[in-house]
């Protein structure tokens, strides 16, 4: 407990940075999508629905453009400070107040650095690699944006019926960029790093997709917004806890607390959700276990996918200097760096939406209603001019966003914690672990899940 002061500082830093980041993004989006049309209509009496629609069309692009760089800056700082705490150090605390601006300084430094293309490198491929690496993490995140914002009107147009499939497809592209970077650098370390990343991605994509597929089977849809909406209503509804197998349990608890829907009683609910009694109960438990395994498998596969310790073999520093980005400097390196942290954020968001209920409050509503003051506070907020006149926020969206932020950064923090703890795998062990353990396990889990699902009434 020698680090309490540092932990407190990190907490303050996170809150300040997150507030600034999300306020900036939301102010920009609100200004473009609502504020500007409102201003035009009320002050200049210029009311053109085409213009409003056009402005709204650009809101998602704007939010991504504002959010990704600021967020990456915050995550780098968070990672460095958190790792410092895990390692009984202080971390960067000199630039700006208590080191808040450290990553800004780093970014400026990287932008001003000379951009070197090594002799013998394939210049076109060398330049293209960071772009191909970074672009999918933005494009792929687009349907996610609709899901994490609880289908806000701004982002509804981004949602796809095949959302998660599209996201996974996009997240498979960066591997090509790593091979490109490794090959084009004209450096043997880079080459080995690029080849390793290809081997790793092929091995770990399968368990990752199988884990997501089991969630989709439980949910009965690929639409991320629908998957997020299904899980609303407390933590027992989340896919992490059985993919909807525990909804009946949740209802029964609600009924026993006198907050059930209508005149339902415990046995009725039990009969509806668990039609085969004992067998259904066993099936529900099996589903919970399967989904927890899927969750762990997804996190493992995702760590491998985004090259974080213990799967950071493509850039294994003690072996390959810096792997595929050995020869990169300046802006190109900055893009690699940015994309890595964006990928981490995207992966955490996918986990949040697919397993942890998106913007859902973990406390079930029937308990929340019993806490005095909450509903009155929400209605007071709704009455206030911020909501009613300017449409700046609405309470449901606000709380959903707060929960999303909390969950996403909790997973990011977990990834940092893992990075601060584990050593690195060796490449042959990594591949063996992927093919001999994870893939068979994922197939077994999927098979068991498909059978167990028949005995319980779930989301889908």
């Amino acid at each position: 407990m020698e680090n309490v002061a540092e932990i407190r500082k990190l907490t303050t830093l996170s809150i300040v940075w997150l507030t600034i980041t999300f306020s900036a993004v939301w102010v920009a989006c609100w200004g473009l999508g609502i504020g500007l049309p409102m201003l035009l209509e009320n002050v200049f009496h210029y009311d053109n629905p085409v213009l409003v629609e056009t402005l709204r069309f650009f809101v998602p692009a704007l939010s991504i453009l504002v959010f990704i760089p600021i967020n990456a800056m915050f995550m780098v700082l968070l990672e460095r400070r958190a790792l410092a705490i895990f390692t009984v150090r202080k971390g960067p605390n000199r630039v700006g107040p208590d080191g808040y601006l450290q990553t800004m300084a780093d970014a400026v430094k990287l932008l001003l650095k000379e951009d070197i293309t090594p002799i013998g490198a394939d210049a076109v491929m060398f330049t293209l690699a960071p772009i191909v690496f970074f672009a999918p993490s933005i494009i792929g995140a687009v349907p996610l944006l609709a899901a994490v914002t609880s289908n806000h009107p701004f982002y509804q147009s981004l949602n796809l019926p095949t959302g998660i499939f599209y996201v996974l497809a996009a997240s498979a592209i960066p591997v090509v960029a790593l091979v490109m970077a490794g090959w084009a650098s004209n450096n043997k370390y880079s080459l080995v790093g690029g080849l390793r990343s290809a081997a790793q991605a092929i091995s770990y994509e399968i368990p990752l997709v199988m884990a997501i597929l089991s969630v989709c089977v439980m949910a009965g849809t690929l639409d991320m917004v629908k998957i997020a909406e299904q899980q609303a209503g407390g933590f027992l509804h989340w896919n992490f806890f059985g993919g909807g197998a525990l909804i009946g349990l949740d209802r029964m608890i609600a009924a026993s607390m006198g907050a059930g829907m209508g005149a339902e009683t415990g046995p009725d609910i039990s009969h509806h959700f668990y039609p085969y009694d004992g067998i259904s109960g066993v099936a529900a438990i099996i589903l919970v276990i399967c989904l927890v395994i899927s969750f762990c498998m997804y996190l493992t596969g995702a760590c491998a996918e985004i090259n974080r310790i213990p799967f950071d073999l493509p850039e294994a520093e003690s072996e390959l200097v810096s792997g595929y980005n050995t020869e990169y400097s300046g802006m190109k390196f900055a893009i690699f760096f940015l994309a890595e942290f964006t990928n981490l954020f995207v992966v955490s968001s996918i986990t949040t939406v697919m397993f942890l209920g998106g913007g859902d409050n973990p406390i079930p509503p029937y308990i929340l209603d019993k806490i005095p003051g909450i509903s009155s506070a929400i209605s007071a907020l709704r009455e206030s001019p911020i909501c009613s006149q300017w449409h700046f926020i609405n309470p449901e969206m606000l709380f959903a966003t707060l929960w999303v932020i909390f969950k996403v950064y909790a997973i990011v923090f977990f990834a940092i914690l893992v990075r601060g703890t584990l050593p690195r795998f060796r490449i042959d062990q990594l591949i063996a672990f992927g093919w001999k353990r994870l893939i068979p396990l994922s197939l077994i889990v999927f098979l068991v899940l498909v059978f167990a699902r028949g005995f319980v009434v779930c989301h889908g």
Binding site: P310, D312, G420, R426
Partner: protein, 377 residues
């Protein structure tokens, strides 16, 4: 099937030659390894030495005894106490000096402290070699800093101590210093337990170290490997026991021989256990240390050693340091010759590396625990 297999043989690709170092981030200084790789498998290794050659032996002939005494700490900067000690013992042999008991106890105490700091640094950097870039590696540094504070108080320096002098030791520590050291030694075993809890049975760590870089008894003896490396291969070679010097015979400690396979995990374990033993030695020294003089030879710029030839060896954290000295009785030494453990231990590297993947290079190289200034002198 047979046809396909022969096809795979035909697919054999070119070997790739990689220069690992001297600027590689993980070669612990400036070692250069010329690796011939087939895919990720090492086919041939050639260590290239000399990037850090500082002519330490030659400098001995061009410095006075007093100056060289201060210089020799730099040879192995992680365990400077031991090179000083080897030199002091060789020179005392010529002089026929009998070092006071209290000085001998202080030498043992501070050397064992230095052994702990050296092993702690090894532990941290070894985990960095294995890819635990952040987190754990810094914890050993926490304890190391505490010991350095103690060194600073008694020797005036944190790493280049120049504490063991010809004829005794430099300074007598204050009673408060002993109290601080006692506090450290009391809590240190718990700290090692902490390290062991996170590392020793960590599945990834076991995967990376078990059965990797196996050094068998015969090979180790053939190459003149010393220190924890040979002891972890099952050879009981510890000068403190096999050829006791100073006050080691009066102390009760074990020679750590981990007799399993001689793999990197054994070398790790040997060092962990050695730290525990060193801690015990320090505790015993504190209990047994007598009062009395600490130095019998006047430390001035005109320090001289009687004519003749002398040799002394001490057991350093890396192995046996031997110091051979020839004196003509003049103000400068006639010749110094050092036997450095890192050099001999490094010579085993090509034998261990051939046939292992790139990732294991650092796992094996780190486990040998060499230090480049000690290799090149």
């Amino acid at each position: 099937m047979a046809l396909e297999l022969s096809r795979i043989e035909d697919l054999k690709t070119d070997e790739m030659i990689i220069n690992m170092g001297p600027q590689h981030p993980a070669t612990h200084g400036v070692l250069r390894l010329i690796l011939t790789l087939d895919g990720e498998v090492v086919k041939h290794v050639e260590p290239v030495l000399g990037h850090l050659h500082r002519a330490q032996e030659w400098q001995g002939q061009n410095r006075t005894w007093f100056q060289y005494q201060a210089l020799i700490d730099r040879v192995d900067y992680l365990s400077g106490m031991f090179t000083s000690w080897a030199m002091a013992r060789a020179c005392e042999q010529l002089d026929g000096t009998v070092v006071p008991k209290r000085a001998e106890y202080l030498r043992v105490m501070l050397s064992e402290m230095n052994r702990i700091t050296s092993h702690l640094l090894w532990l941290g950097t070894y985990l960095i070699d294995l890819g635990a870039m952040f987190g754990f590696p810094f914890y050993p540094f926490r304890e190391r800093e505490k010991l350095f504070d103690l060194f600073e108080e008694v020797a005036g320096q944190r790493m280049m101590f120049n504490y063991i002098r010809i004829g005794g030791v430099l300074r007598d520590p204050k009673p408060e210093w002993f109290a601080q050291l006692k506090k450290f030694t009391d809590e240190f075993p718990d700290r090692i337990d902490e390290y062991e809890a996170i590392v020793t049975q960590n599945p990834i760590f076991l995967d990376r170290t078990k059965g990797v870089g196996i050094l068998n008894k015969q090979l180790a003896m053939d190459y003149g490997v010393t220190g924890p490396c040979i002891r972890s291969s099952g050879v009981e070679l510890d000068l403190r026991k096999t050829k006791p010097y100073s006050v080691y015979p009066e102390l009760d400690f074990k020679t750590i021989v981990t007799d399993h396979d001689g793999d990197t995990w054994d070398r790790y374990m040997a060092r962990i256990l050695e730290m525990r033993e060193s801690n015990k030695i320090i505790q015993q020294c504190m209990a047994q240390i007598p009062d009395g003089d600490i130095i019998v030879k006047k430390q001035t710029a005109g320090l001289r050693v009687k004519a003749g030839e002398g040799f002394a060896a001490v057991e350093s954290p890396r192995g046996i340091i031997g110091c051979y000295v020839t004196s003509t009785g003049g103000e400068k030494p006639f010749r110094f010759r050092w036997r450095n453990p890192s050099f001999c231990n490094l010579s085993i590297l090509p034998e261990l590396l051939v046939g292992s993947p790139i990732s294991d290079i650092m796992a094996i190289f780190g486990s040998i625990d060499i230090i480049l200034p000690d290799v090149d002198r």
